[in-house]
Amino acid sequence: MQDTLLSAMNYARGLGKVSYADARTIQSKTTSMIISTKEEGAQSSSSFGVSIRVLAGGMWGYSSTQSKALADLKAAVESAHKAALVAAAHKKEGIEIEPRKAAIGKARVFGKQSFFDMPFEERRKILSEMVDFAKQDKIIFTQASASASKTTKHFANTEGSVIETDIERTRAGITSVARSAAKQAMNYDVFAVQGGFEKILALGLEEFSKSVSDKAILFLSSKKPPKGKTTVLMSPSVGGTLIHEVFGHAAEADWIACGRSLLRKKLNQKIASDIVSIYDDGSIPGAWGSVYYDDEGTQCKKNALVENGMLKQYMHTRETAKKLGMPPTGNGRLQDFTHTIIPRMTNTCLEAGDMNFEEMVSLVKKGIFVDRYTIALEDPAGGSFELKTLGGYHIENGKFTAPLNRATLSSSSFIETLSNVVGLSKKYGRDSSGMCGKGHENWVPVGNPSPHILIKDLTVGGV
């Protein structure tokens, strides 16, 4: 297939005003199963497509085809070329990228026990057991799910680069709904890994399933959060999401370049407390957000973004790197063959601190501990953010007291929030690895490893 891609790239080179072109085939397979106390369902899907990108007249043009034939690839190249030139007529400042030498690379990640290879009877048995483990008094509904995907990409460009990646990802999750006479409460948990189902089994599905129901029942007696500015202790799952939303998106270089991010012109300035160091790394073996080579063929590596509170770097595509005069960082990603490449996070990690969890709780005179999150939204231009949490505990005089109801966390300035980080735990916990959409779509897998985080003065509201 790579020979066909290279031939298509040769063809692109000959079209008018073309300064660069690349192409990638994306072949993916998914399989999933859901079992609840009420019903069962399973699904599989497979797809193949080729994404073509042409830089012509200083404008990107994208096209795609579902065919492997060279003639169809050439037609897609022409279509991308045409789309670029239609829009280029209205463009004031042309897009450029720094030329580079041809690269050859390969990366493969497979598990020992692929979910694809597990007979449906075995999958059903495991998920049914999860549902049974989660059944308890007051639990009115439980649903267990598992899925896996295999994505194979071949990349080639007009510079002669040829890259191949082959990655398997596996996820399992459980949801429980509890009900009392006065209230209904929901809890869920998801575990996502790169590799096979053996990593999911190693988690201990009995404990995993039971704990989700235990907490749903606990939330039945939860009390509303305090209102206004509050000290918040976050689990690694919530903390990782906070770093991803409040900092990560603001450090993606397309938003720096267009003036959308408050981190613009803040390189080598203090944007967080001294104990905060953050890096992005798409090369961590087996981590959910790792891609090893990004969708422009740049090899991923560890990029220090914040060191001891100081902003050191942004996350780039080749286009933003050229525009801002910095090196590419391997963060150019696309959702699939019909989408565009933009700067995206991979695994965005907050470095651990030096505290024990108990020590962190003991520091809180009056505040809350938030354990799970449901959804979060960034605001890189305005500086605020919104993070919806599912439950946790009230903390008074250094001790957990009543269970906490849903709380919405916000702040008027994420730089102030990062500067208000007063404690980080020594240990990492299970993070909130999942799918991230940017702007209006474009979903990619991302990881957010984080320790527990203690932050003062967050705005809290809730019922």
Binding site: G259, E386, G437
Partner: protein, 449 residues
């Protein structure tokens, strides 16, 4: 192409073909993509077990393989009730829907034109577009099954999504603007652009909202998603089966007298209007709440079979991965257009009399579909004092939709909002502005400070 599997298996084949042009822009145009994807999903019924598999490879052996995979996936699932079958309802002609030939003919040119219009209007209003996408979509889907049913729907969408803010170096939240329609009405789009860019230009130097009790007026953009997650979801056959919704049985009083809502897949101009649903059933219109009383559930073929009911034509497919991936989305029982009746108040009168907060946009307008709880950041709001508007933000408002409905007054004016922006195929809600007295708002400062 599918004759062989339709004869060999008891199955339903859903085929979609979506062509899409999208232009990305901020200060100017950045990238244009013109793509199309064809794909199909095969649902098989074998021993009353339903399986499902999808693919975008249109070759005979791949189609056969996909059908076999579908049988495999169904093999280990629970049997469905005996009454379940694929639809055998005739009487709905092939091809209708909301279709604009001018969009279909020149997708990329249309997407470019509406992007340029947006940028020109922004410049005129001294507004900076920080992230914009204009998208023209043309789609076709066909449902065939082994009972001889074959139906086709064809349609178009035009979507513009813009994040914009006044031109200033100050940290000001962007205002998210979304325009979506089924046909390209230049006048309507131009009016919308002028109104919204005018609104953005006013949002300079927002004040921090102090903690306290306020009268609130929520726009349809805020109220609609809360309704879709709750009032629009609780009457679904799925929630009835799971027993997790807040509507327990028909005839119960679930809202104040005067509150009425309909589920309408046929609503003219509706963003979720189709002549046939994604299982080939004719879409319908029905009251789900009348004067506060819960009237009826809505169903697809599967959930109807659990309750010995008929499908109400509410089978949908959605994909957060984009409209072109619709074939790969699971068939589910879903709201189409949720139509909530307006009230007696005029938004203009309420705003001229009120002392409180007008909430135009929030961070994430969503409610928990199990409990009805919501909580969001007031991102683009105005402190209103007898007709004077001061931009304001940095506060959290939370509650439950059930309590909100008890205390609400509704305006005559309504607006339409889509559930998601990622895919054109999503539920929509037509609803009024909602006025609430003395609501608790958690701010970044204390009142008076």
């Amino acid at each position: 192409m599918f004759d062989r599997v339709l004869k060999k298996y008891n199955c339903e084949v859903f085929v979609s073909e979506v062509s899409l042009a999208e232009v990305a822009f901020d200060r100017e145009l950045n990238a244009a993509r013109e793509v199309s994807e064809r794909g199909y999903s095969i649902r098989t019924l074998s021993g009353q077990r339903l399986g499902s598999a999808s693919s975008n490879l249109f070759v005979t052996n791949e189609i056969e393989k996909t059908a076999e995979e579908s049988i495999d996936t169904g093999r280990c699932t629970k049997q469905l009730p005996k009454s379940f079958s694929f639809t055998d309802k005739m009487g709905c002609s092939l091809v209708s829907g909301t279709y604009d030939k001018s969009i279909d003919k020149a997708l990329c040119a249309q997407a470019t034109e509406i992007a340029i219009n947006a940028l020109e209007c922004a410049e005129k209003n001294n507004v900076l577009v920080t992230d914009g996408r204009s998208r023209a979509v043309s789609f076709k889907y066909r449902v065939m099954n082994s009972l001889g049913i074959e139906k086709e729907e064809k349609g178009t969408y035009l979507t513009v999504m813009i994040d914009a803010k006044p031109i200033t170096d100050k940290p000001i939240a962007e205002v998210p603007l979304v325009f979506r329609d089924r046909i390209y009405d230049k006048k309507k789009y131009s009016l919308w652009l002028n109104e919204k860019m005018g609104l953005v230009s006013r949002f300079v130097m927002p004040r921090k909202i102090p903690t306290g009790k306020y009268d609130l007026l929520l726009s349809p953009d805020v109220f609609g998603p809360l309704l879709l997650d709750t009032v629009g979801t609780w009457p679904s056959g799925l929630m009835r089966l799971e027993g997790t919704g807040q509507f327990k049985k028909t005839g119960d009083v679930v809202a104040p007298n005067g509150f009425s809502a309909a589920m309408d897949g046929t609503y003219p101009g509706g963003l979720s209007t189709y002549s046939v649903d994604f299982e080939g059933n004719k879409t319908t219109k029905g009251k789900i709440i009348e004067n506060g009383v819960f009237k009826k559930y809505y169903y697809d073929q599967k959930y109807a079979s659990y309750f010995n009911e008929s499908s109400t034509g509410n089978a949908m497919r959605s994909s957060s991965l984009g409209a072109e991936k619709i074939f790969a989305g699971t068939t589910h029982c879903c709201a189409q257009n949720l139509i909530v009746s307006g009230g007696a108040e005029k938004a203009e009168d309420l705003l001229s009399d009120m002392k409180g907060i007008f909430v135009e946009n929030v961070g994430i307008a969503s409610a928990d579909s199990e409990t009805g709880a919501f909580g969001f950041e007031l991102r683009n709001a105005f402190l209103v004092n007898k007709g004077e508007f001061t931009p304001a933000r940095y506060a959290v408002y939370s509650g439950t939709v059930q309590d909100l409905l008890k205390e609400a007054k509704f305006t005559k004016e309504t607006g339409q909002v889509s559930e998601t922006h990622e895919s054109e195929f999503s539920s929509s809600c037509v609803c009024p502005y909602v006025f609430l007295e003395k609501q608790d708002v958690a701010g970044a400062t204390k009142r008076g400070s």
